[in-house]
């Protein structure tokens, strides 16, 4: 005998070790529910597993971002609708004030109501969702306007200049814009900083002043200017409609990516319990058979048959 252990037994133990390794690996996979528990289990799949996890994390975060943005875009769209209604209401007040039968007292009263609408439009321009001022553009942490009756437009700009360059990334990496500034919507100015015909704040303030003056001709002119500004704001609703569609499509895509990545990850690392159950049964049977066969192997030698004197 060269080694301390009979080579036949050594070979049996080596084979037994293989079976036991298979069994413990199958047990580990069943208990964790994963087919890849260590890098050595499937070195060729590691790259795919890690990358899919990263993509899933990215898609999940993108979906979360888009959900938050969706709320902001919807609120902004509704706010613009409210602004249009508000401007239409102001046009009605102006039309009533422009009538020759309207008394000065009524006109003064109407001027006060339009002033209230002016304050509401400023409030709309400062619409806030979860700490984000949706019409403040890049400076989304601050309100954009405040009422200032002494100003020619009736408001003061709190952020100068106002710009909205913020891009939102979709799951495929494509970026798009989802917000306009209050200046773009309600406070259009020319290159010299003077209000243009589309400036809703200026038009509203012009109507207030015209109503206060009681001059029907001025009121009619102010109503005309307000209609132009209202029409401009109305045209901008298309931007928010498109933004809502973009966000919604991107969110759908992000959710599809999530499902796709989850499925792919499952395929890469989830254990196949049916296959494992068969494997465990086979290995257990093999183990039992091997042990049983070894137990029945003769352990005697001819020495056992020699007569004892």
């Amino acid at each position: 005998m060269i080694s301390g252990l009979n080579p036949g037994n050594a070979q049996f133990l080596a084979s037994l070790n293989i079976l036991q390794n298979n069994l413990s690996q199958a047990d580990e996979q069943l208990s964790t529910g994963l087919s890849v528990n260590q890098a050595s289990d499937a070195p060729q799949s590691i790259q795919d597993i890690f990358e899919t996890r990263a993509e899933l994390g990215q898609a999940t975060q993108t979906a979360q971002n888009l959900t938050n943005i969706q709320g902001q875009v919807q609120t902004a769209g509704s706010a613009v609708q409210s602004a249009i209604e508000l401007l239409n209401q102001a046009v009605s007040f102006g039309t009533e004030g422009a009538s020759t039968s309207t008394t000065l007292s009524t006109q003064q009263n109407l001027a006060s109501q339009v002033q209230a609408l002016q304050a509401q439009l400023v409030a709309i321009s400062n619409t806030e969702v979860g700490g984000v001022y949706v019409f403040s553009g890049d400076a989304s942490g601050s309100p954009a306007y405040q009422v200032d009756t002494s100003s020619p437009t009736g408001v003061d700009q709190l952020i100068t200049p106002q710009q909205s360059t913020l891009q939102i990334a979709g799951p495929s990496g494509v970026t798009f814009q989802v917000s306009m500034t209050a200046q773009d919507l309600f406070d259009q100015q020319d290159s010299s900083g003077n209000p243009t015909a589309n400036n809703a704040f200026a038009a509203l303030n012009g109507l207030v002043l015209a109503l206060q003056s009681g001059n029907p001709s001025n009121i009619t002119q102010a109503v005309g200017a307000l209609q132009t500004a209202s029409s401009y704001v109305n045209n901008q609703t298309g931007f928010y409609g498109a933004a809502e569609n973009n966000v919604s499509s991107a969110l759908d895509l992000a959710q599809k990516f999530q499902t796709q990545d989850q499925t792919q990850l499952g395929g890469l690392e989830d254990a196949n319990t049916a296959t494992l159950a068969v494997e465990v049964t086979q290995d257990s049977t093999d183990l039992d058979a091997a042990m049983s066969a070894q137990a029945h192997a003769p352990t005697t030698s001819l020495f056992d048959y020699l007569p004892v004197s």
């Binding site: 005998m1 060269i2 080694s3 301390g4 009979n6 080579p7 036949g8 050594a10 070979q11 080596a14 084979s15 070790n17 293989i18 890849v36 528990n37 260590q38 890098a39 050595s40 289990d41 499937a42 070195p43 060729q44 590691i46 790259q47 597993i49 890690f50 990358e51 996890r53 990263a54 993509e55 994390g57 990215q58 999940t60 975060q61 993108t62 971002n65 938050n68 943005i69 700490g131 984000v132 553009g137 890049d138 400076a139 989304s140 942490g141 200049p161 710009q163 909205s164 360059t165 913020l166 891009q167 939102i168 990334a169 990496g173 970026t175 030698s301 001819l302 020495f303 048959y305 020699l306």
Partner: protein, 476 residues
């Protein structure tokens, strides 16, 4: 009468021979399970005719035949050498799998995912202080994960170096044991089965530690060559080996751990000759795999390359960006810091700048065109850019390739160790067929020898009776 005495003499010598043969058989049975023991077969030969003493042929003498087979022994030693290497690789590589964990909680990839998700969330609201704080927090997690991995790999590197020293000590101890055998065997009149068994056992142990070649010398001595070239034991001369830091190996990369070299007693580098046994496995991990991961010798190490690539890429985007959305633009601050003076210590020193605040994170890309969250968006997509920032790969992809390297090494070691255990068992089985003790054969031989002994003793009894009768016939 002279004839009767010579027959008595022959019978007596035969009895002695059978007694020796029974002793040999007993020795076989006793040592049936002794490591390295080869079956000793008693050969019964006819006595030579001795004309001067009058002893004639008819008696027997015992000559013990050693069944040890050099080829079978060499085959076992070679297979043990490979098994030793793969089993050592299994043992040494196992802790690496916890550093390069593949679970969803794996420190580095998980921290990297968190970091890029925090960049993404921040890009949707660049002025949100909570999101800014989350970016800094996630970056700190990344730094900690890299530092922890560097510490763990450093510990494995140290423990592997210790194992190399221990293995070298064991090799030298075995060499000393073989030298002692050579000294004793030279003083013995004939081979001793027990000593031979001890030698074989030592050679098998030595084979599992290193690749050796055994040459039979004069008078039963053996010469042991390491890697087939360097004499470890030559007659009564032993040449010890030693493991030393190869200082020249990390020239130009002073922060890296030097490779380990094996030197013979003359200081010659014989590392390249070690291709088998546990020592080869340890050297392979210590001088090749570990340096490729954490640095060593001339290698910077993949983990350091990844840490530097990440820090530089992120810092570059932030420093090119602006913290303000209107002119004058304020450049952002670097998020990560590391010790650039030690390329192989970057992972261990990766940290978040201690002075950075959320407001110093530059979210804007000054363009043109200016985009308020352009830098943040670039950072959010940095891991999936093509080509990637680290050797053309993304950060997660690069880490995955390091993990795959470790996984492949462990997988290969497991597969080879399993196959090798079967090959060792096969070689030992062949050795057993040639040199092993069969208890059945020994039992048969014992019965035969007992019968022969009985027969020889009967001859002595008959001659004794005849002599007694003859003496009784002499008149008194």
């Amino acid at each position: 009468m002279g004839n009767l005495f010579s027959v008595l003499n022959s019978a007596s010598q035969s009895l002695q021979a059978f007694e020796q043969a029974i002793d040999v058989t007993q020795n076989n049975v006793t040592n049936a399970n002794s490591p390295g023991y080869a079956d000793q077969v008693p050969q019964m030969l006819s006595q030579d005719f001795e004309s001067d003493t009058g002893v004639n042929a008819g008696g027997v003498k015992e000559v013990t035949q050693d069944t040890r087979n050099t080829y079978a022994d060499t085959a076992v030693q070679q297979q043990l050498s490979l098994q030793g290497m793969y089993q050592q690789l299994q043992t040494t590589l196992a802790p690496l799998q916890s550093v390069f964990d593949v679970s969803s909680n794996s420190a580095i990839p998980s921290a990297l995912n968190q970091l890029f998700q925090s960049f993404s969330a921040w890009s949707s609201q660049p002025t949100n202080t909570n999101y800014q704080a989350a970016v800094i927090d996630a970056a700190q997690q990344v730094g900690s994960a890299f530092q922890q991995a560097a510490v763990q790999l450093g510990q494995i590197q140290t423990s592997t170096t210790d194992d190399i020293q221990t293995t070298v000590t064991q090799i030298n101890q075995d060499a000393a044991a073989i030298q002692s055998y050579n000294q004793q065997v030279g003083q013995m009149p004939q081979p001793d089965a027990g000593m031979s068994a001890q030698l074989e056992s030592t050679l098998e142990n030595l084979s599992s530690l290193a690749n050796i070649q055994v040459l039979q010398g004069n008078g039963g001595t053996v010469t042991v060559l390491l890697g087939g070239q360097t004499a470890l034991v030559e007659g009564t001369q032993v040449n010890t080996i030693q493991a030393v830091n190869n200082i020249a190996s990390n020239a130009g990369n002073p922060g890296a751990a030097p490779n380990i070299s094996i030197e013979d007693s003359n200081g010659n580098d014989i590392t390249g000759q070690i291709t088998g046994g546990g020592l080869a496995g340890l050297l392979s991990v210590r001088n090749n795999l570990l340096p490729s991961l954490i640095g060593g010798g001339q290698q910077v190490g993949g983990l350091n390359t990844l840490a530097q690539g990440l820090a530089d890429s992120v810092n570059n985007v932030l420093e090119q960006g602006s913290t303000t959305s209107t002119p004058p633009y304020q450049a952002g601050s670097a998020l990560f810091t590391y010790n650039s003076a030690s390329p192989s210590g970057i992972a261990g020193s990766l940290a978040v700048s201690s002075t950075i605040t959320g407001s110093q994170l530059a979210a804007a890309d000054v363009g043109p065109p200016f985009v308020a969250n352009g830098a943040a968006l670039t950072l959010a997509g940095l891991d999936s850019t093509s080509p990637g920032p680290v050797d053309g790969q993304g950060f997660t992809q690069y880490f995955a390739s390091l993990t795959s390297t470790v996984g492949n090494a462990v997988n290969n070691a497991n597969t080879q160790a399993t196959a090798q255990s079967q090959l060792v068992a096969q070689a030992q089985s062949l050795q057993q067929q040639v040199s092993g003790v069969s208890l059945d054969e020994e039992a048969i031989r014992l019965v035969q020898l007992q019968s022969s002994y009985d027969a020889a003793s009967k001859v002595v009894t008959v001659i004794d009776d005849t002599l007694q009768s003859l003496i009784a016939m002499v008149p008194t």
